[in-house]
Structure formats: C-alpha cells, structure tokens
C-alpha cells in the first residue's frame, strides 16, 4: 500500500495544493495543509481499506486538515459575516477569476466542500456522500442548490 500511496501523493500534489488553496486563499497556509495531510496519510495508511478508496480517503484527510486549520487560524468566517470589503481577492493577482472567488465566498463551508470535491477533485456524488457522512440525496440536493446559487451569482454581474 505504501508505494501506491506515495505514487498517488506525488501524482496528485498539484491538485491537492489547489484544493487547499481554494480554502485558504493563501500560499503558505495551503502548503502547510498539503504537508500535514501527507504526513497524516502516511502515518494512518493502515486505516485505508482498499486501493480504490485512496482518492476519496486522501481528500477527506485534506479537507479535515483544512477545516481544523481554518478554525485555528480564525480565517474561517461564517457565511453571514462576510461583507464585500472583507474579501481577500483585492490582495491577489488581478488575473484571478474574481467573479467565481467572490461567488464562492457566499457559500457555506459545507456547500463549498461539496462543490470543491465535485469540481476540483472530480469525485462522484456517491463518494462525496460517503466521505462526508451524509446521505446521497442530501448531497445531491445540496449540490444542485449550490450550482444554481453559483450560476445566479455569476450571471448577476
């Protein structure tokens, strides 16, 4: 298992960095999350049952690490406290997809996570449901609701 895990980590590092970055919007924090997730994954590799589960299993470690991290760093701003001037986007490069970034800020942590797992990590709904301990229909309806919300936010401007 160890060899497969390391191969997986090496081949997916950019994807994982991007997922971590989507939560933190900050290079250093995202690198920290990737690093801690790898150490954790290797340390707890015996909790991994089969090879097929590797991708969702690692994503879960990564999003849990990101969640803990955001809480500790107090960067975790609940949805209703977000106001436009608080958005970190202005400090980023202007080439950034500001519209989507801003739209993402209007999502709850759970909505964001489902959207990220679907669109960044390309997980199937069934896998997302299992990973988040939610039932399939809840995940489905959250995803559709969130997609519509994003579309509306993106069309608005």
């Amino acid at each position: 298992m160890e060899t497969e895990l390391i191969h997986y980590i090496l081949t997916h590092k950019e994807l994982h960095y991007r997922l971590a970055y989507s939560y933190t919007r900050n290079k250093e924090d995202a690198l920290d999350i990737v690093q801690d997730s790898i150490v954790k994954a290797i340390h707890y590799q015996n909790t991994l049952k089969s090879k097929e589960a590797l991708h969702p299993w690692f994503c879960r470690i990564l999003i849990n690490t990101a969640k803990t991290f955001l809480k500790k760093q107090k960067h975790f701003i609940p949805l209703d406290e977000v106001s436009p001037e608080k958005l970190p986007s202005h400090s980023e490069k202007p080439t950034y997809n500001l519209l989507l970034e801003e739209a993402l800020n209007h999502l709850s942590y759970n909505e964001k996570t489902i959207i990220f797992l679907r669109y960044i990590e390309d997980l199937e709904l069934r896998e997302i449901a299992k990973l988040l301990h939610q039932n399939l229909s809840t995940v489905k309806s959250t995803l559709y609701r969130t997609q519509r919300k994003l579309q509306l936010l993106l069309e608005k401007d």
């Binding site: 390391i6 970055y21 690198l31 801690d36 150490v39 909790t47 969640k67 997809n97």
Partner: protein
C-alpha cells in the same frame, strides 16, 4: 429551467472551475514540501535517492557538544554535573556515557552516544540492557554509512545527520528512568524516543503492562489522554492534536499501544510519551502526558512505583 439549459449551465460551471484552477499558481516550494513530508515519515534505512532534491533546504540538527573518544567509556563533565544535581548520587547504580561514534564532515555529522548502566547486581539484566543500547547505535551507524555512500554519488551532496543520546528522566532510590533519543536529519528532522525504567531495589525492568492488573489500562489511559488533548487545545488555540472521531476524522489518535513509551517521575507519576508526528503535526514535537494517579489507581498492581 428546462433540462437543456440546466445541462448547459453545468457545463459552464465546469469550465469556470477549470479556469479558476488553472489560475491558481503552483508555488516552487511545493515539490520540496511534498518530498520532505514523505521523507520524514520514513525510517532512515528506507530513505531513497530523492533526498538530494530537498537536501539543499536543510539545516542540520544541533548536536550536543560533549568531548569523547571513539569506543572508550567516559563520564563527560556535563553529564557528571547533571547527575550530581539529583538526589542519591551515592546509590550503587549509576549510568555513564559512552561516546561510541563521532563523524563530522562538511555536510555529514553523526554523534552516537549510548548509556552504560553500572552497579546492578543482576548482571544478566544489566548486560542485556547495555548490549541493547550498543547494538541499536551500531545499527544506526551502519544505516548512516549507507546513506553517506548514496549521497556521495551526487555532485553536490546535501546534509545528513544522525544523533543519538540519552537523558536521565528519573533517578531515585527506587527508580531509574532513562530516555534515549534518535534525531535523524534529512530534509527535516525526526525524533524518536525510547525509555527504560528499572526498579533499582528489586532489579527488574518495568514494562507498561507489568504495572497493571489487566489490559483495561489501555482504554482508561487513552480516554484520559484524549480529554487532556481537548483541554490543551481549548486552552491554547495554536495547539493541534489529531483525535479519532473528531469532526468525522478517520485518522487520529485512538488508543495507546500495549507498550506505549512511558516513564515514571520522581514523584511517582506515570508519563506517556508520543513521538513527533504520532498524534500531532510536526511543529508540536514530542508530546508527553501525565496520567493522574487517581484515574489508574484501581488498575495498578501496587502503589510502589506509581502513587
């Protein structure tokens, strides 16, 4: 919204995300960070040729600067002063410092030291412990030699370091607890600790299971540690422990091992120890937990060692 436009919009969203992801730049440091995270979780002997890539970013671990001779038993001045601070120096059982091996080259350093126990009447016990200490250092040395040979094949060799030594945790009339550490430095450093606790009067090696009437201690101690971890995290927001069952985490501390590293303090308290990365991220280092005696009292074989 009809089905057609719904599908179209979903495709748009995928495209928007693909765009968004492309615009997140991958920092140069990512490779080095991923490599060192993988590397630090592996024991020295399993390290591979990847070490060169991130070796440049390393800082060698600091070594304790004791003077000594290869292969000769010597009681170092630093150590002698530290032991005289402890009560009962007159006790017949003592520990001396053996500098087994020292190697300092431009980018490689190794300092291997082993404790040597003297004065136990049970010579078989004394010999088995002393042999174990020497054998462990011999293995570390062999692994280090191999790593150096591998590193030599590169044009610009990086840092390699190994440092072993010991610390007297407790030395009372009844108990001697010795902690031994190994610090490996390739990329980042990792530290492993091992402990031996000896009943000096009865001349027996105390193991964790031998302290308790049955194996229930595993769950009692584990639960207490989890409570302490949560308490510590509440007190200080910067601390992070990985606890099983937290926020749906599959991966985290659940139970101590039957032979979890431990030592006993001069006050008769049980301390459970975890290596770096075992229950928390690297910045937290080695973690120790004092188990309140009242928690484990009903399970103790006697109150001789722990009280």
């Amino acid at each position: 919204m009809n089905l057609m436009s719904k599908q179209k919009n979903q495709a748009d969203l995928s495209e928007t995300f693909a765009d968004y992801l492309d615009q997140i730049e991958i920092p140069e440091e990512l490779n080095a960070i991923v490599d060192s995270a993988i590397q630090r979780t592996k024991p020295l002997k399993e390290r591979n040729m990847n070490m060169k890539k991130f070796a440049k970013h390393t800082i060698a671990a600091s070594f304790i600067g004791l003077m000594g001779f290869v292969g000769s038993v010597n009681l170092s001045p630093t150590f002698a002063s530290s032991i005289s601070d402890l009560p009962l120096l007159g006790s017949l059982v003592k520990v001396v410092n053996l500098r087994q091996f020292e190697y300092q080259a431009s980018t490689y350093n190794a300092t291997l030291e082993a404790p040597v126990i003297e004065g136990l009447e049970d010579e078989a016990l004394q010999k088995s412990l002393n042999t174990k200490y020497l054998e462990e250092n011999k293995k570390l040395y062999e692994a280090f030699e191999k790593d150096v040979a591998k590193m030599e094949q590169f044009d610009s060799p990086g840092h390699l370091g190994v440092d072993s030594g010991f610390e007297i945790k407790t030395n009372t009339e009844d108990i001697l607890s010795i902690a031994r550490y190994v610090v490996n430095t390739v990329g980042s450093s990792s530290t492993t600790m091992t402990y031996d606790t000896i009943d000096k009067k009865n001349e027996i090696l105390i193991t964790l299971p031998s302290l308790f009437i049955d194996e229930e201690y595993i769950s009692i101690i584990s639960e207490n540690i989890k409570t302490q971890m949560k308490e510590r995290m509440k007190q200080d927001e910067n601390l992070v422990y990985w606890i099983e069952g937290d926020e749906g985490a599959l991966e985290g501390f659940d139970r101590i091992n039957v032979h979890q590293p431990f030592y006993i303090t001069a006050e008769g308290k049980l301390i459970i120890s975890f290596d770096k990365y075992e229950v928390s991220p690297g910045f937290m280092g080695i973690q120790e937990f004092e188990i309140p005696t009242e928690v484990i009292e009903p399970l103790l074989v006697s109150s001789l060692y722990i009280h």
